[in-house]
Each structure stands twice: as structure tokens, then as C-alpha cells.
Symmetry: C2
Subunit: 93 residues, 2 copies
Amino acid sequence: MKELDPLLHSQLRLAVMSILMNVEEADFVYLREKNEATAGNLSVQLDKLSAAGYITVEKGFAGKKTRTVCRVTPAGRTAFEAYVAALRTYLNL
Amino acid sequence: MKELDPLLHSQLRLAVMSILMNVEEADFVYLREKNEATAGNLSVQLDKLSAAGYITVEKGFAGKKTRTVCRVTPAGRTAFEAYVAALRTYLNL
DNA sequence: ATAAATCAGTTTATTTTATAAACCAAATTT
DNA sequence: AAATTTGGTTTATAAAATAAACTGATTTAT
């Protein structure tokens, strides 16, 4: 049975990746609001995606406030597409 | 954010449901082999699907050996379709 | 006939995950 | 300058997935 990448098979991580696939970059606050996630949960899940090399997380400033910007990496893109392909076979979409 | 039914958002349960959606009925052994799952794991996940009313689990006999047969219920069918629809919006498929 | 191995499955224990709650430092508001 | 808000991180708790150990019946081999 084709494996579903467990890193992507998580509601919040999947939603984050889905956004990043379509958006070039997105910051922490945007991702938190769009997903109605708690900051804590989002922080943890971003770390995991980052540790896996699926996204980059850049800390910078917007004026004086900190701003954390996320982007999907090529590896992340590939993994996401493989995940979707695997899902298709599961669900025969 | 549209919720992904957590009962279906599990690798093994999803795979089981996907099979049952296409097959009218399937027994324990078939599901275990097809999914390369351990019997323990399968047993637990079938219980959950059954407790949720997504499948029926009937114990009977095939000759002298016990045989556990699973079928998807109308509620299960509906839930599965809703899950797939929700996934589509996540992944914009 | 009986001991060993297999089959079909359940129960219990362990590990992993997801999530929330508590916290921290800097910036803003009053 | 005290109180609040913002943008997060860390730690604790709850829920899930999985594996390991077990049960009870059935073959198979001796």
C-alpha cells in the first residue's frame, strides 16, 4: 500500500502546505488567521515542516515588529504532489 | 476552515473506507492483507468506524473458521463523500 | 490422541501526534 | 510608566496510531 507521508497527513500541516503551494510566501500571522489555528500549534507544525525541509522559515522585521515568513521548498513541492497522488489512489479521485 | 472528519483522516481507516466504498463487503482477513496492516491495528480501527456508525461489522462463520464481514453504511458513505469534498477544497484538486 | 503450529481476532501497553495552556520579549496604548 | 497587545516559543496534556502480548478455536504433524 502506497504510504501517505505522515508529515503531510495532518490537518494543519496539510492546510499550510496547500496555502504555500499557491502563494509564493506567507507569514505566520496570515497562516494563523487563515487556518484559525492557535499560535502554539502553528509554531510546532511549522517547525516540523521546516525540519523536514519542506518549507523555509525566515525571521525578519516589518517595521519594528518581527515577521516570520514561510515558503515551500522544491522538496516540499515534490512531497506535496506525491501526497496528493497517493491520496488519489486511496480515494480513486 | 472546513473540518476534516478526524475519523476518516487516518491512514488505515481511510484506506478501509475507500475499499468498502467500492466493494459491497469485505472481510477482516482481506482488509488486513490488502492494507498490510497488523490485525491489532485493524481491529481497533474497525471498532472506531463501527462505533461511529460508518460501517457494520458482522461476525459469522466460513465453514468452521470465524469470518468477520464489514460493510459501509449510508452514513459512512455520506461521511466519506463529505471528507473527499473537504479535501478537494484543502488541496484545490 | 496429543503436542506444536496456525488462524482470526481482541486487549493492553507504548509511542507518536496534535493541541492547548502557559509563558516570554518587544512594541504599543493609556 | 503601567497595562495591553503582538508575535511568537516552550511545556504540558489529551488523543491517536501502532505494536506487542494474549485468547480461543483449528489444523497439522507425530
